[in-house]
Amino acid sequence: MIAIVDYGLGNVASVKKALDFLGISSELTKDRNEISSADGVILPGVGAFPYAMKRLESDGMVDFLRKTAKKKPFLGICLGMQLLFDRGYEIEETDGLGLISGEVRKIPDMGLKIPHMGWNSLVFSGSCSLLNGVSEGDYVYYVHSYRAELKYRENLAAYSEYGTCIAGVVQNGNVFGTQFHPEKSGDVGLRILKNFGEMCR
């Protein structure tokens, strides 16, 4: 069973619907016992970095999630991916979970529309088991205005070009993140969620 951390932000149900479709069992939960006994954890999220961290703090989840992420496959999606980093600069400087080294900053203005919204193609920059069966050039669906700036290139598995480099898939050991929404990225996204599901067995 995969625990989808429900911290009251965004359309977390859509991740569950995609897992249901794939026949992967999951629960939307903020119950620590349930998360502790899960085979893997997904941290979803749509919204702003500081509100999400405050929400996790008020639920007493921050240290708990840091510890949990050391023990089992852990996937952050969109804002959930951004929260994996050391800190974010959306609205105000806020500490993140610190599971991958780097910071989250506004996408630099390259004369393109912000948010970066729509289908963009992936460029691979490393190997990552989340991308098994995914081909370079496959399109995935993004909606975001901030991007992760990684400290170590080895944590970057794939990116997309949008006047600048947008970290698409990141990894540090068993901690994974996708800036795009796999649950809205058609067949490619379903493949990525299936790969994560297979790691959680």
Partner: protein
């Protein structure tokens, strides 16, 4: 590179697709869920449902359709039609839609777009603008294109962006139904005037209309209805044509599920 989007639009009334759709291989040609699945398999980048019911019963049926669709379609789903209050938006999003589109009420209910964007985020608020040429100007039309507000369409698009719209769905009432191509002039004007994505709508009849709108305007997406519903063109044909004309698109090909 960001791909240009092709978005099929389904008119839904009391949970059924209204315009006659003639598909082979569908169990129920009037079921929006079946048709959405069909377009998803063909490579639609997004699906739009336009609810033309305008009764409470109809809205409940629509929510049921949205919920069933969201269980089987894993590309963004936009739902519009008759939205007047931000609580209705919540119901539609909770049912599984990713975005809502607001049309007449953006004009008639002051502050609605701003409140909706504040509450749910700009990324899920699409403002639909129906534009029509009146005495050499482009005016915003409401009530399904029957009432001229006298508002300048370009200025209105900018105002909607300022209030928090995340996208503009621009339908040219001059081009709509003509099959003579998208309205290049107003689409270009609006796409150049706002910093948010613009979806072109109305007028497409042949495959070149799609490359024209992307090559001649800054539109990010093109909406299509009858040309797809009557199988005059398929989404994959359109996308192959766009790719041949160097318009970046997400081509299908993976059919695992």
């Amino acid at each position: 590179m960001l791909g240009k989007r092709i978005i099929p639009c389904l008119d839904v009334k009391l949970g059924r697709v209204v315009k006659g759709i003639n598909f082979e291989g569908l169990r129920d040609v009037g079921d929006p869920v079946e048709i959405a699945k069909f377009y998803d398999r063909e490579g639609a980048d997004e699906i739009t449902f336009l609810d033309i019911t305008a009764t409470n019963d109809g809205r409940k049926t629509l929510l049921d359709v949205v919920e069933r669709t969201a269980r089987e379609i894993f590309v963004p789903l936009t739902v519009g039609g008759g939205i007047r209050h931000e609580d209705e938006i919540r119901d539609i999003l909770l049912a599984g839609a990713d975005k809502v589109s607001i049309n007449s009420a953006a004009v008639t209910v002051p502050g609605l777009v701003g409140r909706a964007a504040e509450r749910y985020g700009s990324q899920c608020i699409v403002v639909a603008i129906d534009s029509m040429r009146v005495d050499g100007e482009f005016h915003v039309m409401i009530n399904a294109g029957t009432k001229d507000t006298g508002i300048d369409a370009v200025k209105w698009a900018q105002e909607m962006e300022r209030q928090g719209a995340g996208e503009i769905l621009l339908t040219s009432k001059d081009a709509d139904g003509t099959k003579a191509g998208y309205d290049i002039e107003i689409t270009r004007l609006i796409a150049e005037s706002v910093g948010i994505p613009v979806i072109a709508s109305g007028g497409c009849g042949k495959i070149e209309d799609f490359s024209e709108v992307f090559l001649k305007t800054g539109a990010d997406a093109a909406l299509a209805a009858s040309v797809l519903h009557f199988r005059e063109l398929t989404i994959s044909e359109i996308k192959e044509h766009l790719a041949e004309n160097n318009v970046p698109v997400r081509l299908g090909g993976k059919r695992e599920w």
